[in-house]
């Protein structure tokens, strides 16, 4: 689709336009792109704010939850006045305020085996900003099956980890983590805590990966897991390989359709 930037867009996105890796062509790609952010919490807040500001034309937001006062320590898209409001609704208002020309598609639901593929297929890139293993594995499997690239993100206490997955081209989350850990073997942020700013550190990395994927700038965080410890500010990137025996993206996959069994294994059902 041919498209020219308006004068206002030239002003709004001027700092992108002077980057040679983005420029007008990259900005037009951003304006025409569709990104799905799953979870409008600690990671989804910074991710969606930066994507909206960057001019990602359509942002889908998935969350069935409402804003709780305990979210406000890190979920910076929501304010005290938003308590009890659906998170997707609260987030949509802020994103439109930053950038009225983008479109927000709110999905007031949780992803499950029955709806994930239909929703994910409508987008160019997916951000995993969820807070449980069942949905993290579900997003991985759905993105691999649908062939939609995505960014995995996880945070706990002072730590964060992220990887970018290009389905069937680079290592997926299951290539590394295989299957969800048994219920209760790994604590959640509500059990173990999370430094609010760590969500911002990791979320902005995920947003940058989405913007790089869409514009084609730089090289992606594929075939590797980036982790950091904010206590020491040590960052480490571990190389990963796409596994031929991966249960979802390998040569003889055992996962050929989605199921909610992981939700049961994780004690969510």
């Amino acid at each position: 689709m041919l498209m020219n930037l308006t004068d206002e867009q030239m002003d709004r996105y001027s700092r992108h336009l002077i980057l040679k890796e983005v420029g007008p062509e990259g900005q037009i790609k951003l304006l025409q792109s569709r990104v799905l952010v799953v979870g409008t919490g600690g990671l989804g807040s910074p991710v969606s704010l930066y994507l909206a500001a960057a001019g990602v034309g359509t942002i889908g937001l998935v969350d069935a939850d409402t804003v709780d006062i305990s979210n406000l320590q890190r979920q910076i898209i929501h304010t005290t006045a938003d308590i009890d409001r659906p998170k997707v609704e609260s987030a949509a208002v802020k994103l439109k305020a930053i950038n009225p020309e983008i479109k927000i598609e709110p999905w007031l639901l949780y992803l499950d085996a029955s709806n994930s593929l239909d929703i994910i297929r409508q987008y160019d890139f997916v951000i995993d900003g969820t807070d449980n293993f069942a949905t993290k594995f579900l997003i991985n499997d759905a993105c691999v099956l649908a062939g939609v690239p995505y960014s995995h993100g996880g945070i706990l206490r002072f730590d964060g980890q992220t990887m970018t997955v290009l389905p069937r081209k680079s290592a997926c989350y299951r290539c590394c983590f295989h299957e969800p850990p048994p219920a209760k073997s790994v604590p959640s942020c509500s059990q173990a805590g999370i430094l609010g700013a760590v969500a911002g550190m990791l979320g902005t990395i995920q947003a940058a990966e989405a913007l790089k994927f869409i514009t084609g700038a730089g090289s992606l965080l594929t075939d590797s897991l980036l982790s950091f410890d904010a206590k020491t500010m040590n960052f480490r990137r571990v190389k990963l390989r796409k596994r031929p025996d991966c249960p979802v993206c390998g040569e003889n996959p055992s996962i050929i359709e989605l199921s909610d069994s992981e939700r049961e294994a994780c004690g969510l059902k």
């Binding site: 919490g41 850990p181 480490r236 990963l240």
Partner: protein, 68 residues
Amino acid sequence: MEIRLNGESRCINAAHLTVAGLLEMEQVPSPEMVAVQIDGEIVHRCAYNDTMVGDRNQVDLLYFMAGG
């Protein structure tokens, strides 16, 4: 023997060490909390007791993180 654990050199005072033994030595509270990669290959969780860590192996302990 000497291994590289999470990118750092580590002397191990043992001739034989399993992945399970290493996790215990590293005080990983539960072996189910990590994915273990040795020289670029992920070790399956059910093989931690049977997989040996060898001299000069590069071992990465990759923690599961669910938060978002």
